[in-house]
């Protein structure tokens, strides 16, 4: 357990709901759930969730902190927004799922090998580097995220698609070096840094 995680446990003791309300994106909506389950039933990845959203909300209220934060469930979110538009209480469920995932990551207790977690981090790192996404590097990093051997296997499997894209002019090897970028990279990075600092300060940083 990371220090920040221990700090949070310390700070909120038995009240995980309060911790979520204070630290998770849109977390103060959790209490408004009335357990109808329409979100759980609406999710395209539903069958793969150990705990669907409405159950996660109940678990939060029941103080099941570890089970929630280490869950792979919210990483299954495809951001299809079915749950949001159908929720009779207008809970921003998609955002709460993202928020829980992010919070778990912040605490360092997220499920490490979860592929979407890895991809999501890659995506952020990729865009944060130049301000724009470099699709080629994103793909390369993705395929090799589980190590070289695994990566080659995956890459071979995806080669057909890659060639297709190349042929159709929708992927360029030029992106390997340089590639698209914002011009004001310095300003961009400073902005991101500032935003991260502000958020860290606001979200109760126990460190």
């Amino acid at each position: 357990m990371s220090d920040i995680n221990t700090g949070m446990v310390e700070k909120y003791r038995n009240n995980f709901l309060k911790e979520v309300e204070a630290n998770v994106e849109e977390g103060d909506w959790v209490k408004m759930c009335m357990q109808c389950g329409v979100c759980s039933g609406s999710c395209p990845m539903g069958p793969y969730w150990d705990h669907p959203p409405q159950e996660l909300f109940m678990m939060i209220r029941a103080g099941k902190r570890d089970e929630v934060l280490t869950s792979t469930s919210m990483w299954m979110c495809t951001s299809c927004y079915n749950c949001i538009v159908r929720c009779p209480r207008e809970l921003p469920i998609t955002h709460i799922m993202h928020g829980l995932a992010h919070y778990a990551t912040r605490l360092g207790i997220e499920p490490k090998g979860q592929p979407t977690r890895q991809f999501a981090q890659l995506f952020w790192d990729n865009l944060a580097k130049n301000g724009r996404v470099n699709e080629l590097w994103l793909g390369v990093n993705l395929y090799f995220m589980n190590g070289l051997v695994e990566g080659i296997k995956v890459a071979m499997g995806m080669a057909g698609i890659g060639f297709g894209m190349l042929k159709a002019g929708r992927l360029s090897l030029k992106e390997l070096v340089g590639g698209h970028t914002v011009k004001d990279k310095k300003g961009f990075k400073a902005m991101i840094k500032k935003a991260q600092e502000l958020e860290a300060a606001r979200i109760d940083n126990a460190q």
């Binding site: 389950g37 539903g46 669907p52 159908r86 009779p88």
Partner: protein, 429 residues
């Protein structure tokens, strides 16, 4: 119409459903002059379209018979059908209502002998049956219609049918020249009893009411049970007339949902519990009913009825707001997707027929009342001083079951009487 006597001591009842009838009767039976304004061609309102009442499973027309007899016997009550209040001015003890009366094309001579109906041909959507069937161009709204007088559909005016109907009538009861009339009525107090309407099921898009034939509403389901209804009392589904034995009821269809109606409509749980017995009534042990719910709101002694239905092994309760419905194109069955939240069980259930326990919304849109009233977000009239001598009765005041609506209407009658008694006192009568 000019012969209607209305004064500052008259009580105007807007709406002739069970609430309006009750309020009118209670006031008239203690000697008050009452005028009832009813939009449709007959009084009785929504309850006339119900097969049974919960929790007794008795028949609404039974009480209607009594109330209609009371009304017919009471000379203090004047009923204007096909009439609507378009404007209301004034204050407690002194109101003037503008009432638009649409032509019925049939006058009081009508004996309901039915000769006109026999000779006309064209048919029109029958709103009484939620447009699931047709009525003829000359028709009696339903078996117990009061006034027991035929109506000509405006659609036949100017056609041969109209003339045929007129020629068939031996009693000079058909007047094709009848025109819309606007009249003004004085009143000391007004009882607003315009009731409710089912929420527009088309708006609940995930349930595909507009796309899937075998998804219907609870009010439509009631009509299927009526031997004189669109299916002749057969419990069959719309797409292919197949017997509907495996029936799903979806609670909170429109209710308790900020996207649609944010209030709980109160009646729907009980209505579905009641309707589950219809399936058993028709198919006995072949009945297979599923009720998808958030909370079963069988409040107070209605819970006894809930407990009784729970004992029925052919009825299953699933705590779940159904996520969406798709159609199995091979057999027309609606397929329900969702999660039973009691322990997380994902389901994909196919049924013969799906009944949406449709929510209740006030008949009058929030911003269209003819006079300023305290209306809450949900569109119901709250009891408030600013309403002056206008008193809400029944479902215009909240989502209520029949029993509570009648209770509310009885209360409204007293409030109206207080106003007109004060007028009488001031006028020294």
């Amino acid at each position: 119409m000019s012969d209607i006597v209305a004064t500052n001591q008259t009580i105007l009842v807007v709406g002739g459903g069970i609430s309006g009838m009750t309020a009118a009767l209670e006031a008239a039976e203690v000697g008050k002059q009452v005028i009832v304004i009813e939009k449709t061609p007959s009084v009785g309102g929504r309850v006339t379209r119900l097969y049974k009442y919960f929790p007794k499973l008795c028949f609404p027309t039974c009480g209607l018979e009594i109330n209609q007899r009371r009304m017919a016997a009471n000379k203090n009550i004047t009923v204007l059908t096909m009439a609507e209040v378009t404007d209301l001015q004034g204050e407690a003890g002194n109101y003037t209502a503008t009432v638009k009366v649409s032509p019925r094309y049939v006058n009081a001579n009508c004996t309901a002998c039915g000769a006109c109906g026999d000779v006309v041909a064209a048919e029109f959507d029958d709103e009484f049956n939620y447009n699931m069937s047709k009525h003829k161009g000359a028709y009696l709204p339903h078996n117990m219609a009061m006034p027991k007088r035929y109506v000509l559909d405006p659609g036949i005016i100017g056609t041969d049918d109209a003339q045929k109907a007129k020629d068939a009538c031996k009693y000079d009861a058909i007047d094709l020249d009848m025109q819309e009339e606007t009249i003004q009525l004085k009143a000391g107090a007004v009882i607003w009893a315009t009731g409710w309407r089912p929420y527009d099921a088309n708006k609940i898009q995930p349930y595909g009411y507009d796309r899937i034939d075998n998804v219907i509403t609870s009010v439509e389901f009631e009509r299927l049970m009526d031997p004189f209804g669109p299916t002749g009392g057969k419990l069959v589904r719309p797409s292919d007339g197949k017997e509907a034995k495996n029936v799903a009821f979806i609670q909170c269809a429109g209710s308790r949902d900020i996207n649609y109606l944010k209030h709980c409509s109160r009646i729907c749980c009980m209505a579905s519990l009641k309707q589950s017995t219809y399936v058993s009534e028709k198919y006995g042990d072949d009945a297979d009913v599923s009720i998808y719910y958030i909370d079963i709101r069988a409040i107070d002694r209605f819970d006894n009825f809930y407990q009784k239905v729970q004992q029925d092994k052919n009825v299953t309760f699933i705590k779940s707001k159904v996520a969406n419905i798709v159609e199995n194109k091979a057999n027309g069955n609606p397929v329900l997707n969702g999660v039973d939240t009691e322990g997380y069980h994902r389901y994909q259930n196919e049924h013969d027929l799906v009944v949406l326990a449709i929510g209740m919304e006030p008949s009058v849109d929030k911003d269209t009342f003819p006079i300023e009233l305290k209306v809450n977000d949900e569109g119901f009239i709250e009891f408030d001083e600013v309403n002056g001598g206008v008193f809400a009765a029944g479902c215009s005041s909240d989502a209520l079951d029949v029993n509570r609506a009648v209770q509310s209407a009885t209360a409204s009658a007293l409030r109206a009487i207080q106003v007109v008694n004060k007028v009488a006192q001031a006028e020294g009568q």
